[in-house]
Amino acid sequence: MGVIATSKYILEMLKIRKRYEVNDVLALNDAEIRVKQGTIHALVGENGAGKTTLMKILCGIEKKDAGEIWLNGDKVDIRNPRHSFSLGIGMVHQHFRLIDDFTVAENVVLGVEITRKFGFISLRDVILAVKRLSKDSGLMIEPSLKVRELSMGQRQKVEILKLLYRGADIIVLDEPTSVLTEQEITDLFNAVRRLKAQGKTIIFISHKLKEVMEISDEITVLRKGKTVQTGKTEELNEKEIAYAMVGEEIPLEIKTSKGLSMPKRAILHVRDLHVKDRRGLVEEVRGISFDVKAGEILGIAGVAGNGQKELVEALFGIRKASSGSVFIDGKDVTSSSIRVHRENGMAYIPDDRIGEGSCPTSSIVENIIADRYYKPVLSNRSWIDISAARRMAGTLVKEYDVRTSSIYSTIGMLSGGNIQKIIIAREFSSNPKVLIICEPTWGLDIRSTKFVYDRLMEMKINRKAILLISSNLDEILDLSDRILVIYEGEIVADFNNTAVLTKAVIGEYMMGLHLKTLRREKSTTL
């Protein structure tokens, strides 16, 4: 096309190096990325490879220790987020950066408000501006809604609008699909393609290689802070990328055992469970009943925020159910404490690994013994047997292949995958009858995901009753024997996971499309 070399790339980041002072981690070690104008460029790598760090440097949120950034052929020194905006760079973060209590419009203009007399903000002007932008870009959303009320997909639209409002030409999306439903992912991809057609450049980070292959034009692979491969997407395949990411051959397919065992005896019984929200006003779970049998994985599919969290917390005793009952192997635990749930053989792996599933500032040992420190194996009257605790932690760390220098390391220092391994080690080793597991692979890379799936299958073969909650439909379909769909606190569908069941069908139920028909069926059977 006769373009001169310097303008071939809109963005070049060369030999970027970054060390985090707090924990002395070398996050980037001569990382490089070269992005062409008007393309969708995927950035992939394992957990901790440095993808987010590299993009934070581009956005002026973190400072690089060494390296160069070239933008449109000019060398730039990005000083702070504001400066990065002014250069036309914007990023949608892995965890959305929106103020829940502000409206869509207020979020979009935050930091670049329009003011009138005496420096007062004109809310009307702001709303008009956002409406116009929303129409131009095709990202339709009502500007006066509070962000708190939006779904994840809508929030993402707000994030993108925010960048467009600031005139971003390069848009970074950090794991944008991990919190979205199938439909929302399709919408997002359409929006991204439209932006590309308008001449914007997109950098796309994801762990899901299928998506990467589908949407991207070029790919850069990071491993341990180094760029190890880069090239056109059409010239690469999933296997090659996975190999580049990990540095060794790994099998991509999941060994599932759907339908292998013949589950018979139901272990977990849930009957007409109702749960209210914290303030006791709204019913979040509205009469749910189901059984989980030994050796069965029951998947619950649903868009996040449809009562899954409340359901699970009520099952485990973290919340009180307002009515209904929960039985573990015939024992009523409906209003029992969490400890009684655990002692009756229930284990739970929550989606929030740092906030709930572990104590990041405590050692591995202290995390491992949290549910059993008081039991005779680990204690003597009211004193904890320190050496027994140490032995137990050592054994489990080995058994679950946790990569750590010592069992006294604080958990917060470990990678997401290793934290999840420790939580799994604790919960699985408590020898439960019922296992509840939520979003087990959120944010995990290929290798850790595979580890989790393999262990889950082992548990199934050991005839545990497993309840799997996930917003990732692939995961639900790959692992479950039976699938329930939850919508607005009710079960709206119940499927056996046979070959004919498709994502599209489940997706429709998740969106509440078949609600009316199902309700009618219910009322006729009554």
């Binding site: 060390r19 002072e21 220790d65 060494a66 485990f316 973290i318 404490s337 969490i338 400890r339 749930h341 655990r342 739970y348 929550p350 929030d352 906030g355 709930e356 599933g357 572990s358 104590c359 990041p360 500032t361 405590s362 202290e366 013994i369 949290a370 549910d371 420190y373 008081y374 204690s379 009211s382 004193w383 904890i384 320190i386």
Partner: protein, 345 residues
């Protein structure tokens, strides 16, 4: 590495605080040389001053321990002043009433009563926190303000010794007063009781189930709850022990030194206990030297005021400086910078 940094920080805190003290003395004294000399050497110049310094450190050790127990459960007990004072009043009253009982038994009962009184008061804040999420920092302080007035009311009215010139209770049986160990100073055998309590709690926090529960609850409440730890009970119990030990701090001081309850005798024990716990980095054993250091600041200022023209209030400025500096991580910025430079080259 972390340990080293922490101790460096404490060391720097102490040095800067002392420098501020020297500065304040220099600015206000006509004979700063003499004043400073007495400030630093006074507390060690005689058995009398030395013993008094240690005696003054006894209640601080306990309030420091009390703070650190609540801190470990991530609760801020700001009501120590009131707990100390109220615990002492209850204990004194019981001591007065138990006149005829053998001393050993009386002392044990009296200490138990002040422990329960201080603890009960603090447990209210713990209860409000775990039941309705009422901020314990403010609630404990408000309760403390209220109690101080109520105790003053008793000392000025119903429980006042009419013969005393100041607002004070009558003396209780002289036999209950703890024996002195370094005459003519005030140092009494209470120091051994206190050391025993500290060692006991230090072991409990490390090895006991309750200690483990407190630590985990303090570090991540949601995790503790999820793991099955009875978190609400743990928070209330931690506040109870904290307040109880504060109550003991007040009563041991009365038993060892005053022999009766005097209005305002304990002012500052609570606040300084917080500083002591902070210097000790919440480690029960380190509370011992930290409390002695704090008592040294006060005694130094007192001795210096005796022999020169400075006011003993100078100590309060130094103590405040300790507060400002003691949690300042950034104090070691020059260390960090050096490492960063090394990392880059």
């Amino acid at each position: 590495m972390k340990k080293l940094e922490e101790s460096m920080r404490v060391l720097i805190t102490i040095i800067i605080a002392l420098m501020i003290g020297v500065l304040a003395i220099t600015l206000t004294s006509k004979e700063p040389g003499i004043a400073i000399k007495y400030f630093f050497t006074g507390p060690f110049s005689s058995a009398y001053f030395f013993g008094n310094m240690l005696a003054a450190s006894i209640p601080l050790m306990l309030t420091g321990l009390a703070t650190s127990i609540a801190f470990s459960a991530s609760a801020f007990n700001l009501g120590l002043e009131g707990q100390v004072y109220f615990g002492a009043l209850c204990g004194t009253y019981v001591a007065y009433e138990l006149n005829a009982v053998p001393p050993i038994i009386a002392i044990i009962v009296v200490l138990a009563v002040s422990f329960a009184a201080g603890g009960g008061i603090a447990a209210i804040s713990g209860y409000l926190k775990s039941k309705w999420n009422v901020d314990e920092l403010i609630s404990s302080l408000l309760v403390s303000y209220t109690l101080i007035y109520i105790v003053d009311f008793f000392l000025e009215g119903p429980f006042k010794d009419p013969a005393a010139g100041l607002a004070a209770s009558p003396y209780f049986n002289k036999k209950f007063v703890l024996p002195k160990i370094l005459l003519p100073s005030d140092l009494h055998i209470g120091i051994f009781i206190v050391l025993a309590i500290i060692i006991l709690f230090s072991i409990i926090m490390k090895r006991n189930k309750f200690g483990y529960e407190v630590r985990i609850t303090g570090k991540n409440f949601r995790f503790a709850k999820y793991a099955g730890i009875p978190v609400k009970k743990v928070v209330i119990m931690a506040m109870f022990f904290s307040g109880g030990i504060a109550g003991l701090a007040g009563m041991i001081d009365i038993l060892g030194i005053h022999g009766r309850m005097i209005r305002g005798y304990s002012a500052g024990y609570g606040w300084n206990g917080i500083a002591v716990a902070l210097i000790a980095r919440n480690n029960p054993l380190l509370v011992i030297p930290a409390a002695i250091f704090f008592a040294f600041l006060q005694s130094g200022a007192n001795v210096s005021a005796l022999f020169s023209d400075v006011t003993p209030e100078v100590a309060r400025i130094i103590q405040a400086a300790v507060f400002y500096l003691v949690t300042a991580e950034g104090l070691l910025f020059f260390l960090k910078k050096k490492r960063m430079e090394k990392g880059q080259t």
